[in-house]
């Protein structure tokens, strides 16, 4: 092992490392040129210029927020995005999927910047947007929430379907659109009452099922999640056994579906979630087993009555679904 060969080995290794470092430099140079495009003129944090604060109560906890929250960042919470859609609130920062904002939210994302993908908000980008309030989600880890709190008051919006009314009211209080939220809720409750009146008797012995098709497989959900909440909890339709047994998103086989044999079927199918099987829906309809089940034979299959990417729980989805469901079921 003479010194010349060992230096040779060493040089070889160093050269690789230097190349790696240069690559990193290059990459970060590109990265920072992207960063300069974000606004960062001022140097103050997100203290509201007027300095006025007030307290809001949400789900039993108190938060101190600026009197008027103009600049809102929504991160991680699809429920909050839907509420924003309903109340026509335009956030300054929102979640992207593979770099783009979902079509559905086009009307409110006109002024928004991407602040990262769903589960990993980019703290620095959010800070540079100087928000007044950040709407996170109860799914976030404590460390993430703590970091967000340092930027601006952060409220964790509940992802549990049952809290939809509180979520809507929260969005509303923050942005000062009080009447609109209450109107939306009251309208919804009226719609529910109408639905109950129309459908309760008619549906007494019938089974209604709602499924989502993901990756070509059929998934069902517990009774208080997805659009099931509107069907089973609000209107009070019969809950099929299998839904009662379902604790979380569960895939069911075609055979199981045949076993359930629902009278009415709602299918949510999004091409985004089924990238490799865009024809899954067609295949499903042609499936010789399914085409013999009651719902298919009697023509009571309804596809995508609301936007396929909707959560189902928040106000916007719920109301839309209810209206559509009532329309179909009462025929």
């Amino acid at each position: 092992m003479n010194s010349s060969s060992s230096t040779h080995r060493k040089t070889g290794r160093w050269s690789v490392l230097i190349i790696l470092l240069l690559t990193a430099l290059l990459v970060s140079a590109c990265g920072s040129s992207q960063a300069t495009s974000t606004s960062a003129a001022g140097t103050a944090t997100s203290e509201n210029s007027s300095g006025e604060q007030r307290t809001i109560t949400y789900l039993g906890k108190e938060y101190t927020v600026p009197a008027t929250a103009e600049r809102i960042v929504i991160t991680g919470s699809m429920e909050a995005m839907e509420d924003a859609l309903l109340l026509d609130v335009h956030p300054v920062g929102a979640i992207t999927y593979s770099g783009k904002f979902p079509e559905k939210f086009a009307s409110i994302t006109d002024q928004a910047e991407s602040i990262g993908e769903k589960t990993e908000p980019n703290f620095e980008t959010i800070l540079s947007l100087k928000p007044d309030v950040i709407l996170g989600t109860t799914k976030f880890d404590a460390p993430v929430v703590e970091q967000l709190n340092k930027i601006a008051p952060t409220i964790q919006v509940s992802h549990i379907s049952d809290n939809w009314q509180d979520n809507l009211k929260l969005m509303d209080e923050l942005t000062g659109k009080s009447k609109e939220a209450q109107t939306a809720i009251t309208t919804y409750q009226q719609d529910v009452a109408t639905a109950k009146a129309e459908l309760k008797d008619k549906m007494k012995d019938k089974t209604v099922l709602a499924v989502r098709i993901r990756q070509g497989s059929v998934c069902v959900y517990p009774s208080n999640v997805f659009v099931n909440a509107a069907l089973y909890e609000d209107v009070g339709l019969n809950v099929p056994d299998i839904i009662q047994q379902t604790k979380a998103q569960q895939e069911i086989s075609i055979e199981q579906f045949a076993q359930i044999n629902p009278d009415y079927l709602f299918i949510q199918f999004s091409t985004d979630e089924n990238p490799d099987t865009p024809a899954a829906l067609e295949d499903l309809k042609k499936n010789p087993i399914l085409s013999k089940t009651k719902a298919f034979q009697e023509g009571h299959v309804y596809v995508n009555v609301i936007d396929p990417l909707s959560e189902g729980g928040p106000a916007w989805s719920r109301d839309q679904f209810l209206k559509a469901a009532v329309k179909e079921l009462s025929q």
Binding site: Y97, S98, R214, Q215, G216, S217, I242, Q245, Q250, E251, I252, S253, I254, E255, Q256, A258, Q259, D272, E273, P275, D276, T277, P278, A279, N287, P288, I289, K292, T293
Partner: protein, 337 residues
């Protein structure tokens, strides 16, 4: 071989058709929807397309039963070939990165060519198997002492982890994470009957190749030097057996995803029963593998009824303890069988 063990292969071959028929029958009988034997017989012999039960049997249960047995057979034969060829008792498609390669290519296919035909997916899967096998075996043969069981297992694990890491990265970025995990968690209720027909030519090629090579593998399993001394062209044999492995594993993954431990366990049990002559081992592996996986599938339906359990969990349930037992017995030594 001692007295009664001589008869094992004969017993196995005679009872095989019975066992196969039994496994298929039970597989068809047992399912989410209650059906009696009468209906099944009627479906098989007097098929009525308007009866939903008949449709279920012909479209869902029968294809499932048959393809499960086929996949079990393919994976078992792959494992036998790999173990014979490398004299490494740990060689199997799932440990050596072959299945991971398939899954990676299928994921890329899903991302880049959404809605690709089944045939395209099968071809991608085969390419993936070839890549996975190529990298691991290439490294093993090039490195000093690379074909020892421990080294190969480690190489396989590293390359396998690397490939699943890349798969995960691509999946996360393109937002198809959970669907990819559906793929890793093989679920036999999703098998496409059309695909079953498509894989048959590849599968037959693979099996035939395996049977033809059986004698040579027996010689090879005694040692490279012995084989060369007997005038065998070891390079050619190894290349052809890898081809068979790639065909059989690629086809299995394309049908149902990654199923671990079958290629590891079944050859061992078969060799225990019928000895080391691969002319017997390979067909018996096929039978044994098919029957074993068939029963695992039945179990996977029973365990969390009415919901399905991914079959990988069931095979792991049996596989991990057996794997540990094997390690206990053999340690780091090469296959002495």
């Amino acid at each position: 071989m001692s007295g009664i063990r001589k008869w094992y292969p004969l017993i196995l071959i005679v009872s095989a058709p019975l066992l196969v028929a039994l496994t298929i029958s039970i597989s068809i009988l047992y399912g989410a929807k209650d059906m009696d034997a009468q209906t099944i017989i009627q479906a098989l012999f007097h098929f009525d397309p308007n009866q939903i039960d008949h449709q279920i049997i012909m479209q869902s249960r029968l294809p499932r039963a048959i393809s499960t047995m086929l996949i079990g057979a393919f994976l078992a034969v792959s494992g036998a070939l790999m173990q014979g060829m490398t004299r490494n008792y740990l060689a199997s498609p799932s440990i050596m990165g072959v299945s991971d390669g398939s899954v990676l290519m299928i994921t890329l296919c899903m991302i880049l060519l959404p809605g690709a035909s089944s045939l395209t997916m099968i071809v991608y899967s085969l390419i993936g198997s070839a890549i996975g096998a190529g990298i691991v075996f290439g490294l093993a043969w090039l490195l000093p002492n690379g074909t020892s069981p421990v080294r190969m297992a480690i190489l396989g694990t590293i390359i396998g982890t690397f490939m699943s890491g890349v798969t995960e990265a691509a999946a996360t970025y393109f937002q198809v994470s959970q669907s990819v995990s559906f793929w890793y968690n093989a679920r036999l209720d999703q098998i496409d009957p059309v695909m079953i027909r498509m894989i048959i030519p590849f599968a037959i090629a693979g099996l035939l190749l395996a049977l033809i090579l059986a004698r040579s593998i027996t010689v090879l399993s005694m040692g490279d030097e012995i084989a060369a001394g007997l005038g065998q062209r070891t390079g050619l044999i190894k290349g052809l057996s890898m081809l068979a492995v790639v065909l059989l594993t690629g086809v299995s993954v394309a049908l149902a995803g990654k199923i671990a431990f079958v290629g590891l366990l079944v050859p061992h049990m078969t060799r225990y029963l019928v000895g080391v002559d691969y002319r017997r081992v390979i067909p018996c592996c096929a039978l044994f593998g098919g029957i074993s996986l068939g029963w695992c599938d039945i179990l996977s339906r029973w365990v969390n009824a009415p919901f399905e359990t991914p079959i990988g969990v069931i095979t792991a349930l049996f596989g991990v303890p057996f794997f540990l037992y094997l390690i206990r017995r053999k340690g780091g030594k090469t296959n002495e069988n």
